[in-house]
Amino acid sequence: MSRVCFGFEVHQPFRLDHQFDPEAGRRNKNLREVYFTAKNRDLLERVVQKCYVPATEIVLENLDQGFCCSFSLSGTLIEQLEAWGKDALDLFQQVASHHNTELLAQTYYHSLASLFTEKGEFEEQIRQHMHLMQDTFGVTPRVFENTEFIFNTTVASVAKKLGFAGVYAEGVERVLGWRSPNYLYSCQGIKVLMRNYRLSDDIAFRFSNRQWEHYPLTADTFASWLAATPGDCIHLFMDYETFGEHHWHESGIMEFLRWLPHEIALKDTQCILPSQALEQDPRDELNIAETISWADQEKDASAWLGNCQQLAAFREVERAGRLVRDREVWRYLQASDHFHYMASKSGSCEEVHSYFRQEGPFKSFADYMRVLSDFEERSASLARMRGAVLGLRCLPPEKAFHFFSAYGYTGYSAYSLDDFAMQLEVVPKDSLQFHVERGDFVRWVADVIGDHHLAESLKKYHLPHELFDAVDKRRKYLWNRLK
């Protein structure tokens, strides 16, 4: 008898206001109003009406008839439901109290904190989410699902340290090798549930694809595939918005959801919960040093950290932790979604990215940096070491230093003093020479960063490593002042 375990990731971010203007917003002290778009409410109301309410009603009916599934609800989603979607929240509460469901833990802010160098922030956000689940639903999750299935040995160790019984990961061939995802494994001493992405994607991506050979997919057919799949347990996991939002009602997805549990039961397949799947002994130990995830074809972190701009934004938001006071806004800015909008990929992955974002990748990056920079500037005015925070703050593209040579833009840009030091080490030497001769570094440091002390000392230096030393010394000094 086959066993199948369903899981749904439910998340809505606080999207940024693309019209954000640092000057116009200067007087408004409510950062949430200034940085995040009012459209978040409309978007939430739309998804509540199209997906959360109708899908959850169907799920509730099915739960009564023996269907089992787990939910991973982000903290930012719960906040939005509390404000603008009480009906849906009620339904989720009914689901959570049902004995056939299980709630999973994730990071409160659906963030990329697991990829930070320091793991403290990641742990903190998981704890916050655990408290939220306890407060809102009276449940303590036992299984952990990291943002977008981002997983590596570090995530496994943190999950183990925090006492989880198991953790979800993507069943990627390159880490499984000859193994099947339909068995239980372990990593760093914690049990790992591997998602069967082929079967999951049949529902999540291919369901309404008219070019697909199995279109239209019926609950009956899909259940027969499950029944024919060998293994201890098939883990199907997808965005909850698959039902009604990614695939519209007209595609028949809701009927599929309604009848699937019934067909599964008919095919002699059992639905179980993640905790039940964890009762077995792991078949093998996996060593997953590289970061894997469920995103795109690459199934790694490249959906969020694939290009230079995504990496720059990510470095800056990590550093911001030591510059800003308002932890909550800082954490909203860590949501994986912001980085997803900045992706510049081609092919079918590009379609997924553009489906989710409102604007082009560069615009998303520029908007993000503008908000983060303004946020740090505002924090500076409240800080004791105002000068140090200002000297270390990040800058939007229009204020960043773009390295040129006589031929044109070299492809390197510095978005903060730290970044500048880093780029001085890798930018082609002739570009540095080009700017030294024109006095650009001195002008940028003095006029844009506003660090006249450093600008003075840069006047004395010409060689790349001397420039690096001067900048490096200064940035370390400023960080020390903040301690």
């Binding site: 690459e298 290009n307 230079c308 701009q309 081609s346 092919g347 390295f403 040579s405 006589a406 031929y407 044109g408 833009y409 070299t410 492809g411 390197y412 840009s413 080490e425 890798v426 930018v427 082609p428 030497k429 002739d430 570009s431 080009f434 490593h465 030393d469």
Partner: protein, 377 residues
């Protein structure tokens, strides 16, 4: 792990006399080691300094010819070495034949010798009959004889020194060169760069960068162009680099879609590297092939000759396409990737992953330290 006191002997570094690829390899290795160890770098130059925790000790040798010059350099290096030998150095790392006299004088101390190339290889895989060739080859043989452990940048170099100088295989360990991928991956608008060279933004660009000499095989690409444009009429070629073949090649490609830029600054190299679609490396002989790591760093698809270090490091059809060093084969390789455009980016991305996995200086320095410990034991 306890920290070691390490002495480097190398005739060039990035901050003093810079001649070729050896400067960047030795400097980056020293800087990486200096994060955990005390590193003293004996080299040429006008004054001592500390850069990124590496202590550079300089000397100014003299000599009428390269052999005398290097002997004088070795002697001065050993003198300078003695000034810093309290407390005693744990291990001494020598680079190439230039410092053989220093190795001779300090041969009782735990030592490691790196071969980055051989005189035979630098001469295009040919023996020479002039006195410098014989003198330098003899020094390479002697250095290999007295060194306690030898590091070679590739298996083909290991084989080469094995048969050239009768160095036993078990004495030689292969540790490749590293790369700093950030130096070559730039966020540029490929269309803008192509436009500067009069190339349409959507036109595929094949890029060659290297010395215009027989060893590097630029002629193989020029001779491959007619066959390629029969299948893909719009492909463009850019050749960067100086050398005695440039003039001849420029004449030979009069009617072909090829541009010869000659020497270009690093920044333009990085721009072209990132703007191109295919990087071609048609070398006839290549002990390592640093340009491969640079192309991979920029996530570029490579079509490379199946020789030396290139053959060892490329996994065919996974992170690059290997061809024979003949015009027909080069044409086949370039046409093959152009036929399957989706391959172009996936081959490059796999290459970049390989860099992150195998060719970062951190992991290379670990292997070097393990080699140090084997001679200290």
């Amino acid at each position: 792990m306890e920290s070691l006191k390490i002495a480097f002997f190398c005739w060039e570094s990035l901050y003093s006399e810079r001649v070729g690829g050896l400067a960047s390899a030795a400097t980056h290795l020293a800087e990486t080691l200096a994060r955990d160890h005390e590193v003293h770098f004996f080299t040429r130059g006008d004054h001592d300094r500390v850069i990124k925790d590496v202590n550079y000790h300089c000397c100014q040798p003299e000599g009428k010819n390269i052999v005398d010059y290097c002997r004088s350099m070795s002697m001065s290096m050993v003198e300078r070495f003695r000034d810093y030998d309290i407390p005693r150095f744990d291990v001494l790392h020598f680079h190439d034949w230039h410092v053989v006299e220093a190795l001779h004088l300090l041969r009782e101390r735990p030592n490691v010798l790196s071969f980055h190339s051989t005189e035979f290889g630098r001469n295009g895989g040919n023996f020479g009959d002039w006195w410098e060739f014989r003198e330098i080859s003899t020094k390479e043989w002697y250095a290999g004889l007295i060194a306690q452990k030898i590091l070679a940048v590739s298996h083909s170099l290991k084989n080469e020194i094995g048969w050239l100088y009768q160095i036993p295989q078990e004495k030689v360990e292969v540790i490749p060169n590293g790369a700093i991928p950030e130096e070559y991956r730039a966020h540029i608008d490929a269309g803008e760069v192509k436009h500067r060279y009069g190339i349409h933004p959507l036109t595929p660009l094949v890029f060659f960068c290297g010395r215009m000499v027989f060893q590097k095989g630029p002629d193989l690409v020029v001779d491959a162009i007619p066959a390629i444009i029969q299948k893909h009429w719009d492909v463009q070629f850019i050749f960067a680099g100086e050398g005695h073949m440039r003039r001849w090649l420029t004449d030979r490609s009069q009617s072909l879609p090829a541009q010869f830029l000659g020497w270009i600054p690093d920044s333009e190299y990085v721009r072209l590297l990132n703007a191109s679609d295919i990087v071609v490396i048609p070398s006839r002989n290549e002990p390592f092939g640093l340009v491969l790591l640079e192309a991979w760093s920029a996530e570029k698809c490579v079509v490379a000759a199946d020789v030396g270090g290139l053959a060892e490091n490329i996994e065919n059809f996974r992170d690059g396409v290997k061809v024979y060093p003949t015009p027909e084969s080069v044409a086949w390789g370039i046409t093959y990737v152009l036929n399957e455009r989706s391959k172009i980016s996936s081959l490059g991305k796999e290459g970049r992953k390989k860099i992150d996995r195998l060719f970062k200086w951190d992991s290379i320095a670990k292997n070097v330290v393990a080699a140090y410990r084997s001679v200290m034991a």
